[in-house]
Assembly symmetry: C3
Homo-oligomer: 274 residues x 3
């Protein structure tokens, strides 16, 4: 099944409309292309409905939101909902400012999301609807491990129920859940956190996978996360072997995504039913 | 002659003012530097006339346009026209939304462009002044080949006449034309379409070539397109040889542009009179 | 001492709030991460005070300023001043437009900067408060060498006194000064000027170093500049050895920054008391 979901991205080349931050937007576009989908970035309120209409999915990322683009996100989200296009929310640093929290709560109120993806601090902040401390990176106390994982699964399930969405918490171990089923994913490498935008890139890839497979949001999200983690492992292995560093890790991550085939995917992904 | 046009970029280091999208802007700046010119990005209406005045050419790219930057583009374009600086239009995804089409028509009405460069879908959309389907990538039915090329040459010529500009249609085969003369270019590799921004980068490079050679817009545009395609071929060859992927292709493309010399250029470009 | 200042960045992982241009923002974020600090980009006036409050330092870069972000910079700067967080100003291309000059003068009036960093043309423009010619790159007549260095030290000292800030002039030889002490730094390679954003990246790194060492702004700035220059030398050496170009130089620069250790740092930096 994962194999088929992956193949569909390359076969259907879904168009992924992204309203995303200007820090990592280039990497998001490049990794969406590398994964077999086609990105389009557009954030003016006068055109987001047109753009969303010709797309297969929508990704909303609040990384460098501003008062202008919040309205565009709402507009694009509503149009996507009307057209039954799947929508991803990446609430980057939602706990870092009142503006991000309020925008996120408004988005959750006015738009139906198919997938909400964040690190543990972000998903907890949504659950608690509170501004936390810390920046855009996960807090040290929020690193998921085998001892605390049940607590985070509970968090993910509650956010999933409250928003009727697949919820993904990313970290050393990733959690993907809807109201019925939970997956645990053990791909990825901690060095991926040393380059900016791996989370944003992942949201873009999820957009491509669910755009190509709108009938199976849960499994598409899981395999997208596992594929990204696997490419990160492979890229990091090559970086270490060649004595390189973070700059090369970013390049190789996109290289491995563009060269990923079914055999490598199925041999490398570690998705468990929980 | 092509050799001289190329050398002039390195010799004169023209300043290229770009009002361009935030997705690919970094690659545009880096490849302009790699080609021997000097980029400056500025889009606030309060400063675009100042910036354009100290520049040698202007590149307007509507990739992530918004209502604020459209006005800045008009203003910069008019100032460039007054100063007789050459101006390039890159109508990214012009058929994808009403906003893009209206902004493009207004730009064509209020600014005199030296070069209009787009893929076949974009140039056709300008000719037909209609919103098409599809995103920012060329439609499958609009891939130029040896059988349909005469039709696209006709499209290019009509857009050229209507706007008194050099028109370039990029694709597997590129077309460059003004009212008197037409070139066909057979450089480039299809994998260049698998990284975001090769079209935007090309517009930036054209800006440098025509900024250094304002007296010969047609040939400068042709050799800029051929040089970019040649670097893409070389970069792709290296990527394939080393078993790498899209991330490395982007890096090597800029590498080859920065190392390009006259001998490699003249040995590799394939520009035919038509 | 330099060794300790460097180690503190990795140990404390300071959060660096950047309001910076969209051309080079991704490289700025990646090199801040590579240097051991944690970047956060946020420019909406509704959230900059929140973001600055959870950060350890603030970097203001006017590279693609606009009337919206100028107000955000002022707001963030004032909040940082209230909280005693160090603030860096990178007046990119300040002489290129009236808007940039007026914004810079207003920033210098309303915000207390810890560090003002620019190339010789930019720092001279601030001293003379005049719009100059030329773009964002240093003018040819403003290249610092051993014959004219005393003149530029004088410029730096005057700007330092007028603004009660550490002033850094970057170039083939770098100058760092406050009212009491002056350093000369002889690291770096001229090819760093052939990739966009090395200056912006340096401002980000300075933000991390002074965020981790707020009690020693002068020495932190000096070692940050030397570390960046050293990584540029190493990256350029590898590029030349492998026959690569500008694209790889950017990648390797970030690689070397992420792999930099105390031994390499202390063996390679060339900081002289003047």
């Amino acid at each position: 099944m994962y194999s088929q979901l992956f193949k569909n991205v390359h076969k259907k080349t879904p168009i992924v409309h992204c309203i995303t931050n200007y820090v990592t937007v280039n990497d998001v576009a490049n990794i969406i292309l590398a994964s077999g989908a086609s990105p389009i970035m557009a954030d003016d309120i006068e055109e987001v409905s047109d753009i969303t209409s010709i797309s297969n999915s929508l990704v909303l990322n609040i990384g460098t939101l501003n008062t202008r683009t919040i309205e565009s996100m709402i507009q694009a989200g509503k149009t996507s909902n009307e057209l039954n296009h799947p929508v991803v929310l990446d609430p980057v640093g939602v706990g870092a400012s009142r503006l991000r929290m309020e925008a996120t709560l408004r988005l959750l109120e006015e738009v139906n999301f198919s997938v909400i993806k964040g690190n543990a601090s972000e998903i907890k902040a949504i659950l608690n609807k509170t501004k936390t401390s810390g920046g855009v990176d996960v807090s040290l106390e929020d690193i998921i491990n085998d001892r605390n994982i049940d607590e985070y699964i509970q968090v993910a399930k509650e956010v999933s129920k409250a928003n009727d969405a697949v919820v993904a918490i990313t970290g050393p171990i990733d959690i993907v859940t809807n109201k019925d089923k939970t997956y645990i994913i053990r791909n990825g490498h901690k060095n991926m956190g040393k380059i900016t935008g791996t989370g944003c890139m992942l949201a873009g890839i999820i957009g491509g996978f669910i755009g190509a497979n709108p009938e199976n949001i849960l499994d598409s999200t899981a395999v997208a996360i596992a594929a990204m983690g696997l490419c990160g492992e492979l890229a990091n292995g090559k970086v270490v072997k060649e004595g390189l560093g973070n700059g090369s890790l970013r390049t190789y991550l996109i290289d491995y995504m563009s060269n990923l085939d079914e055999t490598t995917l199925m041999g490398g992904i570690k998705i468990e039913n929980r």
